[in-house]
């Protein structure tokens, strides 16, 4: 496993190296400028840094890529969060007349955290994850990505691994960035199916008619459920987890299953029996629409998102390519084309990529003094591009590149459309 032992004590040494030679500043700046269409979009963006010894500073803003680089290299943040684009430069917010400093735009974001599934996963709990429960993230991404694109019409979604136990989604469309608080919360609630806290047993309740969104989401869940829940999580394997499942069923089905399970131990058979009984009850019941089996599948697998993260226009969320101080892993974009093979334990740590940086380059010709006239920044940039390309970080920066290219193409298309319309008369 290419992790190379990470120790958080090394951060003070590794971070400066990371920010000097590996952090993809130009792509980062390109992203947050959004083609320069809106004036001062980058300059009015809030960043927050967590520095050494947990010192937290908000309202950081920068007037150029160069300033961003210099400041980050100087302050060496342990954590970086991205906030909203404000009406004025966040770093000057104290000079602005009270009430006029406002958050104007921000990407629509989602945060899926594995701890929110603790009541339904047996393999791990709290901050731990493993390959068995990672499937939950895969399911979440598939369901939400589809819904955000097909139902809501968004096109530019950046999915990012948080570095420890979850994933984030950044919806970067123009329309998404301009959404109001009410709209964001409406989108998040539309996407929410699992409701209730510790005192709620049945967290998913379905009734007729089943909305197309639920049907589509169910088919994703049903695809993964047998391997994930019955085999990997073994939810029908031992008494404790069987009891949890049975608690979600009506008395008559429960009784039948308890008896059946006395004599049948094979989990898949147990699940099949459960489904049969539910089917039978549905077809013989006049009340119609009883979906206990589907509710169970959704309760165990459907994405659980924190509405509060998505609601606020000024909410600060961990930045892509920041380091997770506890695991050392870089918060990297996820290529959806390779989603089923994505392995969070393969994601490079800061120690690994710094190590890869130091490895002698056997295959490259060193041309330090190629162009005399090139200035300091360009030289640093080219060096950096050569640098990260030598490390495991490369493929993840490529994902961001492709994402940015696609947005740029979109913007061009929009502009052509607009100018076409104008040329009409």
């Amino acid at each position: 496993m290419p992790t190379s032992d990470y120790d958080s004590a090394c951060l003070p040494d590794l971070l400066p190296l990371y920010y000097r030679r590996l952090f993809p500043f130009s792509q980062y700046f390109r992203w947050l400028s959004y083609g320069g269409v809106s004036k001062n979009y980058f300059q009015n963006r809030e960043f927050s840094f967590t520095l050494k010894d947990d010192i937290y500073v908000r309202y950081q803003s920068f007037s150029s890529q160069n300033e961003l680089e210099k400041e980050m290299q100087k302050m060496v943040p342990y954590k970086i969060d991205i906030g909203a684009v404000y009406s004025h430069r966040p770093s000057q917010h104290n000079t602005v007349k009270s009430g006029t400093f406002q958050a104007l735009e921000k990407e629509l974001v989602f945060d899926i955290d594995m701890t929110d599934y603790d009541d339904v996963r047996r393999c791990c709990s709290a901050a731990d994850i493993c390959s068995k429960c990672w499937t939950l993230m895969t399911i979440a991404i598939r369901i939400l990505d589809r819904a955000l694109r097909e139902d809501f019409g968004f096109h530019h979604l950046l999915w990012v691994y948080s570095g420890r136990r979850g994933v984030h989604c950044w919806v970067c469309d123009d329309a998404a960035r301009k959404l109001s608080v009410a709209a964001r919360s409406a989108v998040a609630e539309y996407l929410s199916l699992v409701k209730g806290g510790e005192e709620t047993l049945r967290k998913v309740v379905l009734s007729d008619p089943i909305h197309p969104f639920i049907s589509r989401s169910l088919s994703v869940v049903e695809h993964y459920f047998p391997q994930y829940a019955i085999v990997d999580q073994d939810i029908l394997g031992n008494k404790e987890s069987v009891d949890k499942v049975l608690a979600l069923l009506p008395e008559d089905i429960k009784k039948d299953l308890i008896e059946y399970y006395q004599n049948h131990k094979e989990p898949m058979k147990r699940w099949d029996r459960l489904r049969q009984l539910v089917d039978h009850k549905k077809s013989s019941s006049k009340k119609g629409g009883q979906y206990y089996d589907k509710e169970i599948m959704l309760q165990y697998c459907y994405p659980r998102l924190d509405v509060n993260v998505s609601k606020g226009v000024n909410h600060l969320l961990k930045s892509p390519f920041s380091v997770h101080p506890k695991t050392g892993r870089i918060s990297v974009p996820i290529d959806l084309k390779e989603l089923d093979t994505f392995d969070p334990f393969e994601v490079p740590t800061i120690s690994l990529i710094c190590e890869e940086l130091e490895k002698p380059r056997a295959d490259e010709a060193e041309d330090e003094d190629v162009k005399d006239k090139e200035n300091e920044q360009e030289a640093a940039e080219r060096r950096r591009i050569r640098d990260y390309k030598r490390t495991s970080l490369a493929k993840y920066v490529k994902v961001l590149d492709r994402f940015l290219d696609s947005m740029a193409r979109s913007r061009k298309g929009e502009m052509l459309k607009k100018s076409d319309l104008q040329k009409d008369f």
Partner: protein, 508 residues
Amino acid sequence: MQFSGRRKKLISSSQSDLYDHCLQFYGQPPLDNISLIEFETFAVERLKLLKTVENLGVSYVKTTDQYIKKLEAEFLSLNFPFRAEVDDRKVPGVTSEYEKRRKDHISHFILRLAYCQTEDLRRWFIQQEMDLFRYRFGILSSKHKTEFLHKNNLKYETVSAEEKKYLRDKLINSSYGLSGITLEEYDFYRVPFQDALDLVRTRKVYLLAGNAYIPQNEIVTIVLNDFRTRLSKALAVTARSLPAVQSDERLQPLLSHLSHAYVGQDYSIQKNVGKISLEQIDPLSGKSFPLCMRHLHKALRENHHLRHGGRMQYGLFLKGIGLTLEQAMQFWRSEFVKGKVDADKFDKAYAYSIRHMFGKEGKRTDYTPYSCMKVILSNPPSQGDYHGCPFRHSDPELLKQKLQSYKIAPGGINQILELVKGMHYQLACQKYFELTHSVEDAGFSLNHPNQYFTESQKLLGGGQGIKKEVEMSQKSQENPPSASRPSQANPKQAQEEMGDLDSFFQDE
């Protein structure tokens, strides 16, 4: 708007087409002249209408027949337009449809002036106007609905028949109650999802590529959103030009009065002053007090003290049921003295505030007992407080326990808790009334604690009914010679009997 003395001027004809639909978005302010009398009357009547909307909205679910009937009755009595036809026959004594619409238009704008000043006022005004609009739009015919949409530039495209067919199953499964037949009959509108947030949030609509497919019967929600946005913006604009209006001395007092008015019986004029004796308060608290006052009374008896919020809410209530200042003084003092407060301290610290309540100090304002709205919405209780509305402010578990201790039937308690869950606090209190008085229907729409008391006393027959019962029982006891009670029908005896009956009702 120009305000000229007391002259009434003819309405300019350019405005007449504004009134060709009974419903409007109030986009354009009225331009004609109006007398001060009309100004005041229109405003007060609309305020009454909005207060009715508010009360009914709390007491009934907004789509039920009861709600619709009661609101319609109010429209008729206050002469506001709600029917679609312009029937402009000038029948003497009857307000023409045209005049009703004009009143609707003008009164709305006047109330904007009164309600634009603070966040709370604006929120209240927008909420009632929206409920009012929802009701009026809802009763329009389909044809008139479409007319309204087109007239107001809500350019939502209708979905073609082919697309409807293609999306048939998806559309049917997205909207509750939509069948294949209605799918074909109904028009569907393609609306950007940002304009249909309420339907999106609850997943009651089909979404595709960022558009919501709204059946024509749901279009009211969309329209309401638009209405709210427009009104909200307009109120902000109005607030900015308010100083100019307020400088007009004729208008300033009226506008100020409007935004503070509680239109309805305010129990400031006590009808039964002196008719309640202090000894009756304990039994009355169990019989005829609403839960909040029963709670406060109990806390007072137990702790021999109440904090300011509780003293205000309970003290004014007691004033409303007829306690005189002297009685109130005696009541509070005797209770506080049992606690940590000695008579001197009471006279120094608390007596003043009681006299204040009765209007005998300071501004000499005769404070009015709090309405339910006031109790529910303002000054939430904190640790150590006993005021507020128990249905609103108590933890449901504690509320349940308390109701159990008052021997309310479990079925009834569940009904109350359901209402509390749905935030229908006044309805929950009404239910409590019905359960404690053993009646099916309270027969009134609760919005004031003193109203609860009055209605309760009415139901229990007050002093009269009990006297009658006593006389009846005495008559029947006259016959058997071994009657345990002496058959005397003198008032004193009746009073004692009443005392016995009172203790029968006492809960502790």
